[in-house]
């Protein structure tokens, strides 16, 4: 789960990391009031979960409260990469002496949280990694001992040769690791980490990505979710405990298991079709999940055919069959359905489906080919 910049800033500030003043607003009038309180030039930044806000016109400077209000009027409500801007952050325009990068990610190969710093801040860090890797400095944290002071200092000295600023940056890195632990984040990032003209070191922009698996035990973090920033279908899927990702094609896929779901999408493509979604109904076999899944799939007007691909293990095929029967009765859609079922209780499932007028097979390739053909017919 991504946090908004204003949420991440607040968390960093609470953890003792210097963050410039500022506040979040959802109307131009609020923006005007905040700008007036800050009492100098401000920056108004769209709060949406996507990169490239600046290029899209979602970040603007304003020299006074009136300009801030008018700028906010243009940003609020705008669309950035398909997401509507509902909130803006208003912060003082900073006196920036230098821009660096500081972040911690959980790294797969070292299996540790890895701190990365770079004096090349304020730009996309992946670009720095790709183009000037010598400007990236890394340290893999041993979680048994934490980020030790000298380790943080060693990194900080790569950013600032002056020991005073390095000490401040080292302190920020140690606190950033504490933020990672206390929020259950898989990524915490300050970009840019700036030095101010008076020698301070501050987090100008912050990003926190929380590990979804942490949300159950961190209700205070889970409460920060901004549902307005999710596609409607994905929100519904999340609430129904389904893993759903909308794609651009027309063959809807309803599969149990993430790997098989991806392989099914790939096979749709292989046979000349385009998958409309990724959808994993998971391991358990509650028929209601099938109903929820079909309801979400059929809400997409692009969908031309529906493909079920179920390999029964923990999932019982008869439960899925019952779900299909129930859903088609409840939802009253007219899209063609192709069903492939095999594994646990395959025979019972076939009987249920046949009794209700469905055809079903046991071969994945055949089913995919058929679903692709049906989508093409309908197009």
């Amino acid at each position: 789960m991504n946090l908004h910049e204003y949420q991440a800033r607040h968390i960093l500030k609470t953890a003792g990391i210097p963050v410039p003043d500022g506040d979040v607003a959802s109307s131009p009038a609020e923006v005007e009031a905040i700008a007036r309180r800050l009492g100098k030039g401000v920056v108004v930044k769209a709060q949406v979960h996507t990169g490239g806000r600046g290029k899209a016109g979602g970040v603007k400077l304003a020299k006074d409260p009136a300009e801030a209000q008018s700028v906010a009027g243009r940003i609020l409500g705008m669309q950035i990469k398909g997401l509507t801007v509902h909130k803006v952050l208003v912060a003082p325009a900073a006196d920036i002496a230098s821009e660096s990068y500081a972040g911690i990610i959980v790294d797969r190969s070292s299996q540790r949280p890895v701190v990365m710093v770079s004096p090349a801040g304020g730009v996309d860090i992946e670009e720095v990694v790709a183009k000037t890797p010598e400007k990236i400095f890394r340290h893999a944290i041993d979680p048994r001992f934490g980020l030790l002071p000298h380790q943080a200092m060693g990194l900080a000295l790569k950013l600032y040769p002056g020991v005073e600023q390095a000490r401040k940056a080292a302190d920020i890195l140690q606190r950033l690791y504490q933020v990672m632990l206390s929020t259950g984040a898989s990524l915490v990032e300050i970009n840019p980490l700036i030095t101010t003209l008076d020698g301070g070191v501050e987090a100008l922009d912050a990003k926190i990505v929380v590990d979804d698996n942490e949300l159950d035990r961190r209700p205070e973090i889970a409460a920060l979710r901004d549902a307005s920033d999710e596609a409607d279908s994905e929100r519904r899927a999340r609430e129904a405990n389904l893993t759903f990702i909308k794609l651009e094609g027309d063959v809807a896929c309803c599969v149990n298991g993430a790997g098989l779901a991806m392989a099914t999408m790939d096979l749709v493509k292989f046979y000349g079709g385009q998958p409309a979604n990724f959808l994993d109904i998971g391991g358990s076999s509650n028929p209601q999940k099938v109903v929820d899944a079909l309801s979400i799939i059929t809400a997409d007007p692009n969908v031309k055919s529906i493909l079920f691909n179920i390999f029964g293990g923990i999932t019982r095929c008869d439960d899925v069959a019952n779900g299909i029967v129930t859903a088609t009765k409840q939802l009253k859609f007219s899209l063609p359905i192709v069903i492939r079922l095999t594994g646990t209780n395959e025979k019972e499932a076939m009987e249920i489906l046949t009794a209700n007028g469905f055809n079903a097979g046991t071969d994945m390739d055949e089913a995919v080919k058929q679903a692709v053909a049906l989508a093409k017919q309908a197009a």
Binding site: L181, G259, L260, V268, F270, G313
Partner: protein
Amino acid sequence: MSIFVTRDTRLVVQGITGRDGSFHAKQMMEYGTRVAAGVTPGKGGQRFEGKVPIYDTVADAVRETGANTSVIYVPARFAPDAIFEAADAGLKLIVCITEGVPVLDMTRVLPFVREKGARLIGPNCPGAISPGRAKVGIIPGSICKQGSVGVVSRSGTLTYEIIHHLTHADMGQSTCVGIGGDPLIGTNFIDCLAAFEEDSGTRAVVIIGEIGGTDEQDAATFVKEKMKKPVVGFIAGQTAPPGRRMGHAGAIISGSSGTAAEKMAAFEAAGISVMKRPADVVPLLKKRL
């Protein structure tokens, strides 16, 4: 004749009285696995299905029954401690089925397990089965057949799909291992490939990868440099969009890295025969054997 899970496996089931634990404990017993003990704090002294003794702690279970392997079915919030406990009790193989373990917990669990000299498979995995000998986890025994093909995979049902093709073509399996779909796991492809290469009962290996990370690329290097046995591979997620987590916590393309295309290319370059679709596993393996 098989890796990790053998006829000598004596199993303790952590969370044996839970919904998943009890269901799969029965399945494993029916398959012939030696389920030596179960653990549920507060139910020590009872028996599961009138047969398997239940203990309050893994340490008690190990001391009383000589179990050497653990399988974990406890809810996610208890899973890290369940792994710690199994390693603390001296078990050398720990299979964690549980899904949803926070990755920061795993950064502490993994070094602990290694210090104790244990092997962890998972978390968020279907476990392992050595057909005809024993199964530890949730892979359906009915789709497997004893034989000499090793299978290793980051996936669950996709693995079943491929095992299904193998079994139908009469190509039995030595051991099938699901290593799990999380970004931080205890046993990776290379661990399994190395074990299969050593195992006299394995003649060829099927590796099933997916988008995200670089484990498949590392596996390819290992195959090229260290393996003599033929390897056939599949990568799921060719059509996955970047930046989105495809169900598995580990299945995410970051920037331009971790794509199916680069993994398939790495496989090809290492001499791994790459399937275009799951059904290709049989003809490709036949060609290599």
